[in-house]
């Protein structure tokens, strides 16, 4: 089996504000192997985004955050050597966001932002070369007139175009791990589907590993190789996509899937909050143990 590019083991996270301490992750474990597409599904506030932020070593140093447990990204410990992770941001580990238009600085041209992205990790690059590479990257995400897109400001392009730009930026430096946090959920459904398919094609052909954070069960089913279901800071079920969808075992997953067909667009249904059974322990499908664990 390939080495994991992301390993999370028994990760706890709490936010402290004044005397109040809220624990948002209660010891989650997950991993993403090289070239694998793994989804993390859960309702709003369940702790998906904070997990991605921890993997980028963006949260650990902030005041009032207490993170415990192991997060290893491409062989580096994100808690003990955050500087190592910081140095990999933008080229070895990259990210795609919910709303591409607000993720691009409104007062800079796409080309200026792209140039900066290409220089991530201190790579030396002449402006001309950067421009050439940016154009090539935009052509790859099927933007019709790359030169013009580079000279535009984000507000001059449509949301779908901006999402293509974002995907191009995310993949331009050939990352080993891509964190996609509900990519494009701010866009309308058809555009979202189009850009997701584009992203899927590109990461599959390049063998980029993806941690795909989502609300959307039907998208997850189409996109992911493996799925973790997270509920209130705990992973409740983990299995290969076909296992999980054909044979959901945890009460929470069952409830999700039972309710899903009634929903348009595949978003998560509202389930009775805190149904007791949802707190049941983790259920792992065959052959899906965390690395270093023995399958029960």
């Amino acid at each position: 089996m390939a080495d994991p590019v992301l390993t999370v083991r028994d990760l706890h996270l709490a936010f402290r504000k004044g005397r109040q301490r809220t624990e948002v992750l209660h010891g989650i474990s997950l991993h993403v192997n090289a070239g694998e597409k793994v989804a993390l599904v859960g309702e709003s506030g369940s702790g998906k985004s904070v997990t991605a932020q921890l993997a980028l070593a963006r949260l650990q140093q902030e005041k009032g955050t207490e993170a415990e447990g192991l997060i290893e990204v491409l062989g580096h410990d994100a808690t003990r050597s955050p500087a190592r992770i910081a140095a990999m941001r933008g080229h070895r580990v990259t990210m795609i966001f919910q709303d591409p238009t607000s993720a691009l600085n409104p007062v800079f041209r796409i080309g200026e932002i792209f140039e900066q992205v290409l220089r991530a990790g201190g790579q030396r690059l002449r402006a001309q070369e950067a421009r050439r590479r940016a154009e090539a990257a935009l052509a790859e995400v099927q933007i019709p007139d790359p030169a013009r897109a580079l000279d535009s400001y984000p507000f001059q392009l449509s949301g779908g175009m901006n999402q293509r730009v974002m995907i191009a930026m995310a993949l331009a430096n050939g990352p080993e791990l891509l964190l996609a946090d509900e990519p494009g959920t701010a866009l309308d459904v058809t555009v979202q589907a189009q850009t997701l398919r584009l992203m899927d094609d590109l990461v599959t052909s390049r063998g980029t590993a993806v941690l795909f954070i989502s609300h959307n069960l039907s998208v997850v089913r189409e996109f992911a190789d493996r799925v973790y279901v997270i509920y209130r800071g705990r992973i409740v079920e983990h299995g290969r996509t076909e296992q999980l969808f054909s044979d959901p075992r945890h009460p929470y997953t069952k409830a999700l899937l039972a309710a899903a067909p009634r929903l348009l667009g595949g978003g998560l249904p509202d389930l009775p909050q805190g149904a007791e059974a949802f707190a049941d322990p983790l259920l792992v499908h065959d052959g899906c143990a965390e690395p270093g664990e023995v399958t029960a």
């Binding site: 941001r89 080229h91 966001f97 409104p106 007062v107 991530a120 400001y153």
Partner: protein, 343 residues
């Protein structure tokens, strides 16, 4: 037509309209205030005929509306009338006193931008840590204390107790003013290669300009800080960090430029307000600027001069705003490209 040019023309037209309004207002207000300008100008010992003759000469016996007609006719010929106090054309007086004020205000404005913005940026970057607390404390102190009080404090400390800087005036005694080109001593001295004179003028500018600038520096630091902090929360800054943009570069460019847009407009107003504050600072530092002239003509009810001074100050306000609008529209592509978006 480019959107910037259109904006410029639009603002210019608006400015002229405002200026016309201000001129009407001040023209009538100055005239209905009690007191006979001719009597004040000639002194208590002048004879009644002499006063009457002066009133007649200045059309002061005509109805107000007719007087305004005379004013407009002169204005059309580029004439703001004659001061009863100095007995020289008002324009000539203003040309003599304004540059000293402008020089002071420019240097103060420069300080406001060059010190205030980086200070606010620093505070935002180290939010709620040492540098931030210090910067905020200094800003509040600077904002709360009026400029002329700063003037007295600075003068006392840095010119009197420790005589590092000159106490007053534009140049040391014995230093001849540079040839009059713009009226700004530093610029004129530089243009004619008199570097000694230039340094001397700059040396004299430091204390009064600092006194004038301090509240602006505090204000701009506070504004920049809060605007930067808001910008730091934007998704595009999260993106920048996720993509490994250098924190320093984010502070200097990537977050700074969008944060500057809301800040600049207010800074423009602060800058213009310095013109008014300069009056008191000039008093403290015996600065031969427009203030001395302005106060004098108001006390003497020197009608033409009052209108002239007010118009010049209003014009400076409007020009400042125009320049700020231009800068903002250059920084903010949404404004600059507003047209293209619709297409």
């Amino acid at each position: 037509m480019s959107p910037i040019l259109r904006l410029l023309i639009h603002r210019l037209a608006l400015s002229l309209l405002v200026l016309a309004g201000v001129s009407i207002l001040i023209f009538f207000v100055a005239r209905v205030v009690p007191g006979d300008p001719a009597r004040i100008a000639l002194g208590p010992n002048a004879g009644a005929e002499a006063v009457e003759a002066l009133r007649e000469e200045r059309h002061l016996n005509d109805p107000l509306i007719v007087q305004y007609g005379w004013f407009l006719r002169d204005l059309a010929g580029g004439d703001l009338g004659t001061s009863l106090y100095t007995r020289r054309p008002v324009l000539q007086d203003i040309a003599a006193y304004l540059p000293a004020t402008l020089e002071l205000v420019f240097i103060a404005g420069l300080m406001m931008v060059l010190v205030g913005l980086p200070l606010g940026r620093l505070a935002a970057r180290h939010q709620r840590r040492g540098p931030d607390h210090l910067a905020r404390f200094l800003s509040v102190l600077a904002v709360c204390t009026p400029a002329f009080v700063w003037g007295v404090i600075l003068q006392l400390l840095l010119a009197y107790v420790w005589p590092i800087f000159p106490l007053e005036g534009r140049l040391s005694t014995g230093v001849a003013p540079p040839p009059d080109i713009t009226g700004l001593y530093t610029v004129d001295a530089l243009l004619t290669g008199q570097f000694g004179t230039m340094l001397n003028a700059l040396y004299h500018l430091i204390l009064p300009a600092t006194a004038l600038a301090l509240s602006g520096i505090g204000q701009s630091a506070r504004l920049t800080r809060s605007s930067m902090i808001e910008t730091y929360r934007k998704p595009y800054i999260e993106m920048a960090r996720a993509y490994g943009f250098k924190e320093g570069r984010i502070a200097r460019r990537y977050a700074f430029r969008p944060a500057l847009i809301p800040t600049l407009t207010v800074l423009g107003l602060d800058f213009a307000a310095m013109l008014a504050n300069a009056f008191l600072v000039e008093r403290v530092f015996v600065w031969p600027g427009l203030s001395r002239y302005g106060v004098e003509v108001i006390l003497r009810k020197d009608l033409d001069a009052i209108v002239g001074v007010v118009l010049v100050i209003a014009a400076m306000f409007l020009i400042t705003n125009l320049v700020v609008d231009l800068i903002v529209s250059i920084i903010n592509p949404r404004l600059r490209l507003a047209e293209k978006r619709g297409k």
